[in-house]
Symmetry: D2
Subunit: 284 residues, 4 copies
């Protein structure tokens, strides 16, 4: 029996980059959290501490800042530039992943902003030949006050949940969608469109289960955005329980709720085209 | 020498209440985090475990939910109703504080919402005779990309900070403002006005120090809102450091920044009318 | 009517300092989070942006690191050195507060450590003439599986809580204790003694209310530590609710609990000597 | 082109369970955070909202509590009981994953405890025929004050990091190890042994890179614990930067450090036996 090194990777997590574009009096701001991850011929550093193949994570951070000097643009493009650089310029590195979170800022004035809700994300992978791009959104908290039912489920001896034909449905959307190709999308329009359709599908789906809403959200993006071939969603069910006011002589016709933290349901699912190309390293 | 009980209080923290108003097809949602705090004749429970004067924190939570049955309205009014109830109806309780955080929801549809940024707050105190109302906002993150300088400060042997005539100024505003009276304000209009003026003052003040911006923000509220007599602000200086790109042969004309987490400056200050009535228990 | 500047202060929050003492092969580590806060003649920076009286928060951070070069020692002493420096050496600064959190590390080897539970704190204030020292502990999570009752409390129409003669009592202790003088205590022994007595009082008090436990904890410290004159405690009641297993045909004799996050009770109280000297700026 | 449902699963996350064993006067406490995840014939709920195949997440939570009535024991065994139940008793469910975090409590007395550092974990998967068990530890923060070097790495035009032969090495260990079989280990002894060896390898490995330390930690567990066939580690490099005190006329011989939050290195790797059985669903 021997002991061997298996899969491994390393990188710099959470490099916080803010870029200001001052081309006109009307400034723009790009506020990012960038995580780079590399893999390749890295056995030596694990086995003997020979670091000759290791591009330091500090260098990865520096590269993020240096590349921002020429502008960031869309985060998918910025990720592609970085991923290609790491693989193409570092002999030992054969695979790179760049994951970017972009924080939302709303304009207050020509050079003033206030932080908004929801975070845009992009994850780019590159193996020296091909690139994959996954865009996404997270921390998008949404709620329907009606139009949600839950009944007809499997019951066993541990089931006590009453069936309902009208409940609050709330979730914090984490959605990621894989693009058909790494090269050709209008990333800004794609993001705006996909996000708008996710929200619309959440709002106007009469829901019999959060799973049904999840599928509707993915389906809506795929049926409206040609450049998207796969959508992955993770939807925590942020439970809102009707408070029993009967002990106080009061009814509660769907008005007063307790918003619970834990435990919460967690629904995860993938919706994709039946002719989607292989995912390759898209989800690495 | 004896050992004695000093100041004490107790309550229920973070009761999460969501109320849906369904009067029309166009629902509204009120999403609150309520903390109640009581004080009074409570020596016995501390000294002997005699709880006859203790209104259980569980009861306080129940009261929050029961009172919501009749509608919540403005959080200042809801806080006043609760505070008065606890003091007026509980013989041993002589003082009540109700602190409410209200989360922001933006409308997506007739019964659909998405969570927004910034949190409205209200803190009400009542002692059986008088009530005090403090309104506020928190988690309001704002940033100016220019119009901020910092120079001319005191220097000692530990000073290395370079002076600057153009920096990013960013902060997460926590502001609280005391109302002249507990009875008469239009709370919704007051909140909207005060918050709008805080943002405007942040955006259009050419700043020589975050302290100057703080004062300008408080001054702006007081000079535009008659019902406000005192403003307290806590402004973390969310540092954005210009990245030195010279090692890579690049200049950096105010474009590429590192957004730091810790340490951060913290500026706290009060701006008030010179004829403001005594604060009483407003800040208890 | 005029608008004026009221109380104000500023400083550097959360300077993370780790000091290694290598005097022998057996290293020691001191891991701190330091927040400095200054007040004085600071009207000009607020009103006109004249910063000539402002010692930059960046300088405050530098000072923390520079002073650590000569050793940190006990955090109370380190706080006193810093607070005196800021007031004595800066003409405009008349008051300084240094708040320090010290993280716990357990020894794994001569130069190896693992992070432990609980955080030691110290807060020092100095006004140019007198200093005050408050020591403390936080994030000390403790639980009794029995020996806790809660009954005989005041009931109103909103009370539904059943009385109990045996419950779980759990809390996260935040305790701060004021020293009789800033000069003379053996801070390490004082901290060890006070913390040991807090834990012992929590463990061996048969509790009829968390308030009773709070008082017992403060009383225990005061009756055993001559150098302490006042103890302030904040004890969240981390509720553990007995799960109703009856729907599954099971009893639950005090064995299976749901540990709730929110809401929680919050009990705050002070225990002090009746001849304690005035608190002055101890709690500023 | 059609749109189809891909991989999906759902469950109840973060059911907080505390169990007290009162068999003797000397109580014991088991404090868990349990997440259950199920997969199977779930297309209908996604596509049409037909929930007849869905075991509600509320039922999953109830099951966790009900099963605890008979005792929890080792978390690996508790996970196996739950996973087998969900698959064996629910016609539509073909796969279950139970992930458990167990919080550490140190004894203060016969029925008193204080929360300790580090969290034990177990993840069990079951597909109706076979079960897989992965044990682990997380939030185990460790630090070496010396015995760590980093040099000889690949340099490019973005590299500025100075090489060092003596640095602080600190990390928060997340380790998970796969057992050779789901049935036969003494889980308590296995956990204690694996954790002890992880800590020992961290402490006594003279490190040329965090990757080398990672491999040494995995190798140590595998070479001492026959029941373990694969170890996966994620080690954030919690950077401690030597502070430049030269501007203040001071040297800094490896004594005063700034502990940074972000960005941080992140080293992930697998160490395994070359004859390890296939992983199957172990890491699902």
């Amino acid at each position: 029996m021997g002991i061997v090194l298996g899969d491994n990777r390393y990188g710099k997590a959470e490099t916080r980059l803010v870029r200001v574009d001052r081309g006109t009096d009307r400034h723009t701001i790009t506020d990012l959290n960038v995580t780079t991850t590399l893999a390749g011929d890295l056995a030596a550093t694990h086995l003997t501490g020979d670091n000759s193949g290791v591009l330091p994570t500090d260098t990865q951070k520096n590269t993020v800042y240096a590349f921002a000097r020429d502008g960031v643009g869309q985060i998918e493009d910025f990720g592609l530039r970085l991923a290609r650089h790491f693989v193409d310029e570092t002999p030992t590195i054969h695979r790179a992943r760049v994951h970017i979170q972009q924080y939302t800022w709303d304009r207050l004035g020509h050079h003033s902003f206030s932080r908004g809700a929801g975070t845009r994300t992009a994850t780019v992978c590159y193996d020296g030949e091909q690139a994959w791009v996954v865009s996404g959104v997270e921390d998008l908290v949404v709620l329907n006050t009606t139009g949600s039912e839950f009944h007809g489920y499997h019951k066993d001896r541990y089931t006590t949940l009453p069936e309902t034909t009208d409940r609050i449905l709330a979730t914090a959307v984490t959605a990621r969608w894989r693009h058909v190709a790494a090269e050709r999308a209008d990333w800004a329009a794609s993001y705006a469109g996909s996000t708008r359709h996710l929200l619309a599908a959440f709002a106007d789906t009469h829901s019999l289960s959060l799973q049904q809403t999840l599928y509707a959200m993915g389906q809506r993006v795929l049926s409206t955005r040609d450049e998207v071939v796969e959508v992955r969603l993770a939807l925590p069910n942020k439970h809102h329980f009707l408070v029993d006011l009967a002990p106080f002589g009061l009814d509660n016709p769907g008005e007063v709720f307790y918003a619970a933290d834990r435990p919460y349901g967690l629904i995860e699912g993938t919706v994709l085209r039946d002719d989607a190309p292989p995912a390759g390293l898209a989800w690495w």
